[in-house]
Amino acid sequence: MSTFSDASGVVTPLPKIRRPTGFSGVVPAFAFVGIFFVAPVAILLLRSVLEPVPGLGNYAQLIGSSTYLKIFANTFIVSGLVTVISLVIGFPVAWALAIMPGRLTSVIFAILLLSMWTNLLARTYAWMVLLQRTGLINKMLMGMGLIDQPLALVNNLTGVTIGMTYIMLPFIILPLYGVIKKIDPSTLQAAALCGANRWQCLTRVLLPLAMPGMAAGALMVFVMSLGYFVTPSLLGGTANMMLAELIAQFVQSLVNWGMGGAAALVLLVVTLSLYAVQLRFFGNQNPGGR
């Protein structure tokens, strides 16, 4: 018997027993991701507490050394700077894109997408050449009489910050654009009618309304910056290593899997917890980090 009548005589179907369907479809991907993603990462992290001797020695060494602490500091300082600068430049651009009329907007969108999808190495190489002592940027600054001597713009944290900000800008502009586009213009009209001047409208209406988008974008840029490898190692000097490079160096040159695993775990924990914050407070966004 699959139905029953209640007191009023209305026939209601019994709740169906839900049989799992479609699981076989995900089995191949599950096996693949399990073997070639979950297992390798888990083994790497396990090695951090097992090699060379079981225990937390690797982590003690990581925290106890001023060299490593400086690398952590570098990583967080650069990522923080990149986030703040991207936000300061990205907000007006996203704002302009959201309200600007017609054709110019689509040209700028095309530029944004092109720069996002252009090979990372090609872009980083461009900055290596542009920022040299004899490079175009120094030449232009000297030509304008702003500086007398070429600035050291590359092989230091300045170079990394410039190169990373360049990469991150589209990642902050696009989500911010979406948020500002959704704001109802009448809220600002209402503020103006109530006597707010332009500045008050900006700081007390527009900025607060855009705040969730700004926070979400900033968090995403910060997390992505923490794990970057290619750009910091090409634009930064050997004296200004960042965390991703440290992991690579432990593994490639020092063949120290224990320390490599420990540094990887630190990066992983910071990354995943910040993403958890992101998911909890701002919903899902789709990043992509190299």
Binding site: F36, P92, A122, Q132
Partner: protein, 266 residues
């Protein structure tokens, strides 16, 4: 009024100025590299004293550049095919299926996208050293597939979610077998998703550097690894030529996506 461009007053010009400067900043390296690749100065002086094809000739004359480009292409094509096939089967399971931990599983499949790539690279490097896949084509394909699959699953799932399953059911009622209905009704309807999945997978593999650095061997390396290795020695304009070709491919693929989207929408 702040959201009305014409009523912004002088703020309008401020916003416009910042936007144009930012656009120029984003475009600068791309244009610069292209110009540099035709410049005659070996020391990358800009503006160059003259123009030349010399660096392209050197690029094509060196069999190692060509070989690495072919390796990259081969890997990217295999990864694209596998990624779309696996993405398709998985998306059917995720979108149509109902089983425990479905959302958790989807999150797991997308995790490689948010994980710092260097962690995955190092982990796979260790794993492949043990099982003998380091420096092999299979190793490259597997590691690139881990990174490409999330993009594929995302594109195909979202296309499949937007497709009304009752149309497929109608085809079955009209006498098609379930498989036939999927192939002749559902697949064409989600072809834009399959196409995005293919393009994203190809570009992910083609542009991948970090994992490739760890996977490569002296005899087997991809184009980005070759660029990386060359850059660490000197800034030769040959790299500018190689980069320009990479950028050109990206522009062609992006234009293709735009055109196909337009055609499919009509």
């Amino acid at each position: 009024m702040l959201l009305n461009f014409d009523r912004l007053g002088w703020w309008k010009y401020l916003l416009l100025g910042i936007t144009l400067l930012t656009a120029a900043f984003l475009l600068l390296p791309i244009v610069f590299i292209a110009a540099l690749s035709f410049g005659s100065s070996q020391w990358l002086i800009f503006p160059p004293p003259g123009w030349t094809f010399q660096w392209y000739r050197e690029l094509f004359a060196d069999p190692r550049w060509l070989e690495s480009a072919l390796t990259s292409f081969k890997i990217a094509v295999i990864v694209t095919v596998l990624s779309v096939l696996l993405g398709l089967v998985t998306s059917f399971g995720l979108v149509r299926g109902s089983f425990m931990f479905r959302d958790a599983l989807k999150a797991l499949f997308l995790t490689p996208m948010i994980l710092p790539v260097v962690v995955l690279a190092v982990a796979l490097y260790a794993f492949f050293l043990r099982i003998g896949l380091g420096g092999t084509l299979t190793g490259f394909v597997i590691s690139h597939l881990v990174l490409a699959l999330p993009f594929s699953i995302l594109s195909i799932s979202s296309a499949l979610e937007g497709f009304d399953k009752s149309i497929e059911d109608a085809a079955v009622l009209c006498g098609a077998s379930p498989l036939e209905a999927k192939i002749r009704v559902t697949l064409p309807a989600i072809s834009h998703g399959l196409f995005s999945a293919a393009v994203f997978s190809f570009l992910t593999s083609w542009d991948e550097v970090v994992v490739a650095i760890f996977m490569s061997s002296p005899t087997l390396q991809t184009l980005p690894v070759k660029v990386w290795a060359t850059l660490r020695q000197d800034l030769t304009p040959v790299v500018a030529a190689a980069s320009t070709l990479l950028i050109l491919l990206t522009i062609i693929l992006m234009a293709l996506v735009a055109v196909v989207r337009k055609v499919l929408k009509q």
